[in-house]
């Protein structure tokens, strides 16, 4: 039962990533692209977690945690660059 649920979850996360990619390529405003990358990072975290359940291994959580941290930091850095013209003042 978990196998079928995992297949659905992996397919949903992959489809969500493709939709994010469409928004990333299309996005009319600059911040649309930043939002698309931010959402892609969250979808990749979900994909890593579901892959970890499928492989029955807890070794992927560090990768997910690193993705979460770097996604947040890069979004905030880009927004600060737009807002202030500098990342670290």
């Amino acid at each position: 039962m978990i196998e079928y649920a995992l297949q659905f979850g992996l397919a949903a996360a992959s489809l969500a990533l493709l939709l994010n990619l469409w928004r990333l390529l299309r996005g009319p405003a600059l911040m649309d692209r930043v939002l698309a990358v931010d959402t892609m990072v969250i979808n990749i975290i979900a994909l890593i977690i579901l892959f970890g359940i499928q492989q029955r291994s807890t070794i992927f959580f560090e990768a997910a945690l690193l993705f979460a941290m770097f996604g947040f930091i890069s979004t905030v850095a880009y927004c600060r660059f737009i807002l202030r013209g500098d990342v670290i003042e």
């Binding site: 649920a5 949903a12 969500a16 911040m31 959402t39 979900a46 959580f61 979460a68 600060r80 737009i82």
Partner: protein
């Protein structure tokens, strides 16, 4: 007991995947950025939270290896999603200054924070209904 846990994990995975998909569909379908911002920050965060809780129940209940990493990732994501959404909205308003024309009056002597300078100390307490210092 194992069946109940497997059912719970499967439901959490399916629900999380559905919310991830709904968030990304919303980001493609909604009309402009300030409405588009709602879909990923709420639905996608809930979806990844569902996947993380499923992983926690799976490893604690079925595999017997209790891991605390999922709680860390969930807490981190739920803390940082509103902050990054706020930053994106603020940078968008900073880039598109024509959006200020659609704003309602603040009801205070100072204007909206992204468009107008911060009030001097004590200036914000007046009863005047102006939008900002410059108009």
């Amino acid at each position: 007991m194992t069946f109940v846990l497997e059912l719970l994990v499967s439901l959490l995975i399916v629900g999380g995947g559905a919310f991830l998909l709904i968030g990304s569909i919303g980001m493609v379908k909604l009309p402009d950025l300030l409405t588009r911002l709602h879909a990923p920050t709420k639905a996608t965060t809930l979806g990844v939270g569902g996947a993380l809780v499923a992983s926690m129940v799976f490893f604690a209940g079925l595999e017997g290896t209790l891991s605390i990493h999922e709680v860390l990732i969930t807490a981190f994501l739920f803390m940082t999603a509103p902050i990054s959404a706020h930053f994106i909205a603020k940078a968008h308003l900073h880039e598109h200054t024509e959006l200020r024309d659609g704003l309602p009056p603040t009801g205070r002597p100072v204007g909206w924070s992204t468009f107008d300078a911060a009030p001097a100390a004590g200036e914000a307490d007046g009863e005047d209904d102006r939008r900002g210092a410059h108009d």
